[in-house]
């Protein structure tokens, strides 16, 4: 059974959740990535390993954490390690298959800015900064990114390279000595994007149900390329939607204080 009654936000989370498997060891960013990872765990990938940078490994939260260090993550984890161990052994040591990040600002090569809008030394807006993202981006086997589309968020040139995607495209990562794949997937509220194998520019490979090419271009700050064999993302199933909505309801109830 599939449903026709869903929001773009729900489609984004569900489309992202489908990209994760039981075998993945996923370093989870807070917000949209966290929702997608937990929907995957509660539907088709019950054995996925979710890791949050607070040191919780193999966590199975019943509600979505408000922060990366909520008690729920520790209570339901296989084990909780110190922060230096997390970054040294598990991330730098090459144990993470997927780093799942959100972005305030993103360019077409998957470079992410969460540091400042404007000049670094005289910012128009000081954002929280990178946290774990700079090394998640270079040490995880590959990177998935999820964000809502907007012309402010998806820009031709980002103001600051918080975490490096494919740089100027092509083999820029290899030239810097980075051995991991970098961004291989972008899931927005409107589409699924994958990098062109040569240029590494994100190309739309699948439009979510009811979304047009024009919708995607109007909410993106760069000139969008579409795959020749453009697909349509399958609608959410009833199970996927019910799982996501129940998770959001439990989360709202738990965090209302």
């Amino acid at each position: 059974m599939t449903s026709l009654d869903f929001t773009p936000d729900e489609m984004m989370t569900i489309a992202a959740s489908r990209m994760l498997s039981n075998e993945d060891v996923c370093f989870v960013g807070i917000g949209a990535p966290s929702a997608a990872c937990n929907v995957a765990r509660l539907t088709h990938a019950p054995d996925i390993t979710l890791i949050y940078e607070s040191g919780t490994i193999g966590t199975t939260p019943d509600v979505l954490p408000l922060s990366i260090g909520d008690g729920e993550l520790c209570e339901t984890a296989l084990t909780t390690v110190s922060v230096p161990e997390m970054f040294r052994y598990w991330l730098q040591g090459g144990r993470i298959t997927i780093g799942f990040l959100g972005a305030a600002q993103l360019d077409k090569y998957g470079n992410i800015n969460t540091t400042v809008i404007g000049d670094y030394h005289k910012p128009t807006t000081r954002l929280p900064g990178g946290g774990g993202a700079p090394e998640i981006a270079s040490s995880s086997g590959e990177i998935y990114i999820t964000m809502k589309q907007s012309v402010r968020g998806m820009v031709e040139k980002i103001d600051f390279y918080t975490s490096f995607g494919h740089g100027d495209g092509g083999d820029h990562r290899q030239r810097l000595g980075i051995k991991t794949k970098g961004p291989t997937l972008l899931i927005t509220d409107l589409a699924i994007w994958r990098p062109n194998p040569e240029t590494k520019e994100f190309v739309v490979t699948s439009l979510h149900p009811g979304v047009t090419r024009d919708d995607v271009q109007k909410t993106c700050g760069w000139s969008v390329r579409f795959a020749d064999d453009l697909e349509t993302t399958p609608n959410p199933t009833d199970q996927e939607l019910q799982t996501l909505r129940a998770l959001k309801e439990r989360t709202a109830a738990a965090h209302s204080g």
């Binding site: 607070s54 922060s67 110190s82 230096p84 990178g130």
Partner: protein, 284 residues
Amino acid sequence: MTLFCSLHDAVADNLKDGDTAAFEGFTHLIPHAAAHEAIRQGRKDLTLIRMTPDLIYDQMVGMGMVEKLIFSYVGNPGVGLLRRTRDAIENGWPRTIKIEEHSHAAMANAYEAGASGLPCAVFRGYLGAGLKDVNSNIRSLTCPFTGEELAAVPSIRPDVTFIHAHRADRKGNVLIEGIIGIQKEAVLAANRAVVTVEQIVDDLDTHANACVLPHWSLSAVCEVPGGAHPSYTHGIYDRDNAAYLEWDKISADHDSFLAWMKTNVLDASPEDLEARVSRLRKVK
């Protein structure tokens, strides 16, 4: 030297104007009581270090106590931006502050190097990242064995570290449980270390591999129930998520910020925190 003392005396003895200080905690066990005591005592020109400066550093920055901030994520966890810190960085209110910004991996490595007595930390990091262009303390060195270029940052050696923990025994040995974050490294990297605990007990009642700080590695231990509020102490009381959301509004303008600080910090005492966590306590 008396290990056990009041929080007032621990702060007065161990935190001086101009000090480099770390009040560590990774969402969990944030030493709010100690930071509030430092605010009441009016310390100034501090260099504050923390991976995730949240409400307490926002409050100290807003009160004009901070000359420099060294950090890797300057946000209100799960809520958004830190408005007082933004105001200081963007507009210089109430004073201009210097910032030194790193990644989490860099700071975690730098604390570990500090605890290890090393001058710097070496790790694989900052590849392609913009921070190394704006922070002259992010440098590189070449592995003498493989030739790989690696990132290097100075170790973190605070004058004093403040943390909050579950309990201490009667000798002052301290137990930390749950998300232990960077606290052990932050304590061992510092010249002096002050720990507030929920409870002083006869026996730590723990297992062989628990995170325990021996009393002789600490400068002062203070019993302050609720001392992490609105952060949490795992298994004892929950995180006050509503308070984090509320902070976003309180800190939105100068008047509401200053009024809140007067009522809840300047005119308050460490004993007030116990009441603030009463409704958050875990039912046994």
